[in-house]
Amino acid sequence: MKKKLFVLMIATLLVVPFLAGAATAKTLKVGTMSPLTGPYAADGNDIANGVRAAVAVVEAEGGIPGFDKIEVVPQDTACDPRQAVAAANKLINEEVVGVVGAYCSSSTIPASEALAEEDIPMITPASTNEKVTERGLPYMFRMCGRDDDQSKIAGAFIKDYLKAQTVYIVDDKTTYSQGLAENVAKVLAADGIKVVAHDHVNQGDKDFSAVLTKIKAANPDVFYMSLQNSATGSLMAIQAKRFGLKSKTVSQDAVYHPQFIEIAKDAAEGTFLTFGYTDKSKPAYKKYHDKYSGMFGEPGAYSGYAYDGAMVLLNAIKQAKSTDPAKIKAEIMKMDAAGATKQIKFMDNGDSGSDYVIWTVDGGQFETYWNPATGKLF
């Protein structure tokens, strides 16, 4: 009896996807890859939603000539290299014109190798590992900034504005957070500022009392907190406040997320963050913010980059009037326009430069604080 039921179940499972997969003609398919499930799903969904918002904006403005509609094909990588490669191959099968993703550098690198074999352009909104763009892949672009740029700004802020003598660095052992922390340590050492210690916590930890007790005993001027995501950042901020840490806290763009303030509440006040300068009054940002918040609520740290990445891709197709990768690339390299997050201009290796400034949390809001270009407060 049970066997029958079992056969029935398997049969339904097999039939359902075929029913679901009927596609219409003349559709432009844009792929996204990000961790939609697993521990990084928050950032992963921010990325997928950013791309959806971009497509909605383009469609509202008349779409792309020659195509009836634009379809977003989101794929889950679960931040696992094996599944990332499978997702990339799935996107190749779906015949997407370009891919926005992935999140973890360890997913982006192998996935980009697969996409490169078929000459599909890939724009990563979040992978900061320098190797992503330094492998000579012709169709690899990066929307976010790189760790080395960000660390220079953080170093300058700690030295010139905070005038710190001692710094305690903590990271959470990911490509992003550790790379950034090491670069900051290098910059500070070059400036003659003493790095008391460079400590690590692990991904998935919730309790930081041991390391915070150490920091309290060391009593540094600045506590540099390099973390993969904002939820971990808020946990650390709450516990630091509870221990009565007197050091100034400096953090970075991955922690820049509404939920940092929502969870940490008053413990977040006064935290400094390096984040790209976004002129919230410029029309490109407004257009993005209105669309995104209308569809999904407040944008996250990587939504803007994902939105810009998708915009770059769609605009390049519009300009090139073709989906030929070489023509798309030519258009992307020609671009010099204001995006939602930054001025979009790509370098030869596919990086797009960065414009980090110092932000702070003031009265439950992120506010611009210090401008490295002028060395003055905003």
Binding site: M1, K2, K4, L5, F6, V7, L8, M9, L13, L14, V16, P17, A20, G21, L36, T37, G38, N45, P74, Q75, D76, A78, C79, D80, P81, R82, Q83, V85, A86, A87, N89, K90, I92, N93, C104, S105, S106, I109, P110, E113, A114, E117, E118, N129, K131, R135, K173, T174, T175, Q178, G179, H200, N202, E262
Partner: protein, 393 residues
């Protein structure tokens, strides 16, 4: 219907300001409810006997099939499967080939773990550590010393084997679930070391620039010469892993019916009795670990060569659990069972890609259902030889 009450909990959505919203959670709840309802209806119908007619026709079909199966010689089936496997890449695209490669990698892993769990009866929750050791061995050899894939394979197998012995040694005295947590601990330790030993493994950044497997290809362009080719195309890689998987299947089958295999089964059934009968349990348990680790090491080396990038994120506890689930789901100690299990647990998540966010939820639900409806796996192992009480019955 306590179950349905338990399902009520996702109904509540909450905002930071303390108001409740039901809409978002309602969608999820609705899907789960619909699926549960279908299952409940089927179960009820079955209990009432309404489905009996359907069952009879199905049963008739099944007896027919079994008869056909019995009449066809075994080599014909194996030949059919082999031909199907060989021509597979010709008719399929990149994505299908990629999934097939993953399935075959996990077939190797599953069969290796099957030696430890299915044959020797030791619950190992840190098996993926050996896979990681194999992968990092080839990655380091390839990047630092430019040693080709085929030469690295035995080295990867050897290092994984050593790792198996190191992990196996202190666990020999333990039984059952103590073994499980210790192997889980070792698996985590290996992953944490991979993530933290910057000088050797480059930590979370992983190792990049690993060479694909190469072969010497005869070339007749200018006389006869051997040309060295890197097999980067997916269908070439498919044949490489197919070869590895077939070798694994043959090796495990030979082990299974050998004296060693008999001794392992004896240990699984009753360790004390086996020892009494003169089985050297100490050496054989260690051997089971080492053999299992070797296959994982081979699969790991292939994985590194196939993705051409390794990072600690590939070797988490969840992967160990997946391989374990494959073995149990397929049917312990049964080779075709493990192959089916690997097929199910790799292909199902790919099918569920259509459900996007619901993907892993479906996988979890499917795992529970498959276990509940087929508790001994898809294809339960046939016992070699017979026990005295079975003969009497």
């Amino acid at each position: 219907m306590v179950w349905l009450f338990g399902l009520l909990w996702p109904l509540l959505g909450i905002h930071a300001d303390g108001t409740l919203s039901f809409t978002k959670a309602f969608n999820v709840w609705f899907y789960i409810f619909a699926v549960t309802l279908v299952i409940v209806v089927v179960v009820v119908l079955q209990k009432q006997g309404i489905l009996d007619g359907f069952g009879r026709s199905l049963g008739a079909g099944k007896t027919g099939l079994t008869a056909v199966y019995a009449r066809t010689p075994q080599w014909a089936w194996i030949a059919a499967v082999a031909v199907l496997a060989l021509v597979f890449p010709i008719f399929t695209g990149r994505y299908e080939q990629d999934v097939a490669i993953n399935v075959l990698v996990y077939v190797c892993l599953g069969l290796g773990l099957n030696i430890v769990i299915g044959l020797a009866g030791m619950l190992d929750l840190g098996y993926i550590a050996f896979y990681g050791v194999g992968a990092y061995t080839y990655a380091l050899l390839s990047v630092n010393f430019q040693i080709p894939f085929w030469l690295s394979l035995p080295v990867a197998a050897f290092t994984a084997c050593i790792a198996g012995c190191i992990i196996g040694y202190p666990t020999l005295r333990m039984r059952g679930d103590y073994l499980a947590i210790v192997t889980l601990g070792f698996g985590e330790i290996v992953r944490i070391i991979l993530n933290n030993w910057m000088e050797l493994t480059n930590g979370p950044n992983g190792i990049l620039g690993i060479k694909a497997p190469g072969i010497f290809f005869p070339s007749f362009a200018e006389g006869f010469s051997l040309e060295h080719l890197y097999l980067k195309k997916l269908h070439y890689l498919y044949y490489v892993i197919l070869l590895l998987a077939v070798l694994t299947v043959i090796a495990v089958r030979r082990l299974n019916i050998s004296r060693i295999g008999r001794a392992w089964e004896a240990i699984r059934e009753d360790e004390t009795a086996a020892e009494l009968m003169g089985v050297n349990t100490y050496r054989l348990k260690l051997l089971a670990y080492a053999m299992g680790a070797i296959f994982a090491g081979l699969a790991g080396a292939f994985f590194a060569a196939r993705v051409r990038f390794v990072s600690p994120e590939s070797f988490t506890f969840l992967e160990s659990a997946t391989v374990l689930a494959m073995v149990v789901l397929g049917g312990m100690a049964s080779i075709p069972g493990v192959i089916l299990g690997a097929l199910a647990l790799i292909v199902l998540p790919e099918i569920f890609r259509e459900f996007e966010l619901y993907r892993m939820l479906c996988l979890g639900g499917a795992m529970v259902m498959m276990m509940v409806f087929k508790p001994s796996g898809f294809i339960a192992a046939k016992r070699l030889g017979r026990r005295s009480e079975e003969r009497e019955g």
